[in-house]
């Protein structure tokens, strides 16, 4: 056996070239990360744009989280490419008919926007540290301040205007970026499992719930680590947001699957065989049962009974953790599931991910972990917890 690739076992008839999986676990991780970017930004915008004061305790953490995830987003793609050194070809000579050609521009634009918004938000801290700190760290903050030390009320008003404008532009930018990821899959007519007009919307709503869930987990964990009480109105607000968007997501996924079955186009028999067989555990049990239905029931119960205190914190955090898992499974079931159903419509394949190697499970775990390692460093440099009067 050639060691350069791993051939997948199959049943029925699949095209010979299909036996080597084109998009591996790294392409599962890629939309997962972009989803976290968009979702975390949504939480930040609820405060920055819509002025919802209850989200203030997490607004800056959300923005920093979004940036950390965004900085890692290109990594799974670069690891996946056969020639990562040619990656910029798509930007230098974009093939305008390709949905993928826009990625470099969309991601670049959004990353700059995020960096700018973070800069404005953390500018008071940067200026304070630039004036206080000495040595390399002092240099770091002084360079980052770009020579602007003005923290007067007028300057802060000006900053707030910029933050608002960037946050407003960021909403379509963040959601457009993730909706486009859904379009990359939904627009492919070669696979019935992917080919759906609803795919961008499903990706978008699942992104929002994954980002909100991530913020819940990060906020609760950070409060524990910093030994400060959790702001319950803020947590409740995020729980309501999660609950509401979960309803939308489940509804959209349900409608998408119903229309796939109802249309009953060629190959539907094999899709149903897949759904009733290999997909039972990853979809019905893990994604839908454990990851979606269970947290939805827990959240509904807590909202209905008006539960508060430590039980609320534990219940919401556990639900959020399960939702994070569900969205990861959703990405898996889309990306891997689509490829396990053969293009022939007459066979099924079975993906066994490698553990080691460029496209192995360990690489994927490293990519998913990287934003949080980065975040743990960033919160030390730019503490998102401070809410003094000068913080925008």
């Amino acid at each position: 056996m050639n060691t350069l690739f791993e051939a997948m076992p199959f049943t029925g008839y699949v095209y010979p070239n299909e036996t080597v999986l084109a998009w591996t676990v790294l392409i599962v991780v890629y939309p997962y990360l972009t989803g976290l970017v968009a979702g975390a930004f949504t939480v930040s915008s609820l405060y920055q744009v819509f002025g919802m004061q209850r989200f203030k305790p997490v607004a800056h953490l959300a923005l920093l989280t979004s940036l950390c995830c965004m900085l890692v987003v290109p990594t799974p793609l670069l690891l996946h490419l056969g020639h990562p050194e040619r990656a910029l070809n798509a930007v230098i000579t974009p093939h305008t008919t390709s949905a993928f050609a826009i990625f470099g521009y969309a991601a670049g634009f959004y990353a700059i926007l995020l960096i700018l918004e973070n800069w404005f938000v953390f500018r008071p801290h940067i200026v304070q540290q630039a004036q206080r700190k000495k040595g390399p760290l002092g240099w770091f903050y002084r360079v980052l301040s770009l020579g602007s030390y003005d923290l007067s009320e007028k300057a802060m008003r000006y900053d707030r205007k910029w933050i608002f404008a960037l946050a407003v532009i960021g909403i379509p930018a963040a959601h457009g970026l993730h909706g486009y990821v859904g379009f990359v899959f939904g627009s492919l007519k070669s696979r019935e499992w992917w080919s759906s007009d609803l795919m961008p919307a499903v990706f978008l709503f699942s992104a929002i719930i994954s980002g909100t869930a991530l913020l819940i987990v990060l906020y609760v964990v950070s409060c524990r680590l910093r030994k400060v009480p959790v702001d319950l109105p803020c947590l409740k607000g995020m729980a309501y947001t999660l609950w509401g968007f979960m309803m939308f997501t489940l509804l959209l996924e349900g409608v998408e699957f119903a229309s796939l079955v109802y249309r009953g186009r060629e190959g539907i028999e094999m899709i149903m065989e897949y759904v009733k067989g290999p997909l039972i555990v990853p979809f019905a049990v893990l994604q839908f049962g454990v990851g979606s239905l269970l947290p939805l029931l827990v959240l509904s119960f807590m909202i209905w009974r008006g539960i508060t205190g430590k039980v609320l914190v534990a219940g919401v955090a556990a639900s959020a953790f399960l939702v994070l898992f569900a969205v990861l499974m959703m990405r898996w079931n889309v990306v891997i599931g689509g490829q396990e159903i053969a293009k022939t419509g007459k066979g099924l394949l079975e993906y066994h991910p490698l553990v080691f190697g460029r496209e192995g499970i360990l690489a994927a775990v490293a990519v998913v972990t990287a934003p949080f390692v980065l975040l743990s460093l960033m919160v030390r440099l730019f503490p998102p917890w401070a809410h003094d009067a000068k913080t925008a």
Binding site: Y15, G82, R86, I92, S190
Partner: protein, 248 residues
Amino acid sequence: MAVKAVVPEAHAATGPTPPPAIPGYDWTQHRWGFGVDATKCIGCLRCVEACKRENDVAADAHHFRTWVERYVYLEGEDKPRIDSHHDPVNIEASGSEGEYRFANRYKDAKVEKAFFVPKLCNHCTHPACVQVCPTGATYKTEDGVVLIDHNYCIGCQYCVQACPYGARFFNERKQVTDKCTWCYHRITKGLQPACVEVCPVGARIFGDLKDKQSPISQFIRNNRTYVLRPESGNAPNVYYVGIDKDVV
């Protein structure tokens, strides 16, 4: 004939190194087409072997620029049994993944109908693979062939996903996508694609659609032909004779 440089349109104004000009070849004067007469194919697989050697395709059972499918209808069954070279039974019968042979697995069964279907890239008029390529490394030539610039491909495999025919694969040695070129290096020198040349029964037909007397023009004119998955909108350019509705 005037010498005209073959420069892919997608790259001419952009950047990648254009392929070298082919002396004496003007791609505006040709439009290539391919025919398959499935009633003639005997499943000898000389075409598969020739293609692998001619184009340096990995000698295994999972990478093919062209392959042959076998459709067997057994008595009492309403769906055909389909297999090809990646089937473990065929690999075992061949002796290795680098040899290609159909196992005589139905010798004791009551076969109602059976036939072979050679498959290859359809060099579509509206190729989905070209549409999705983010860099333009895969492109449609003036003479109707879909090619890949291996020096410009980034290896994202979006095109592999987009092809409804499973005609594309990832070349692990070069780390780029790969597929049938109708032996572009041969046809631009007046030769036949390797698979067509070695076919002992004339099941593969190739020629210039602009030439009314070419084998492909006559094949299309004299037969009622069919293309695979016409509903895809890709407008494929491999014309089939003698296949059933169950052919995938």
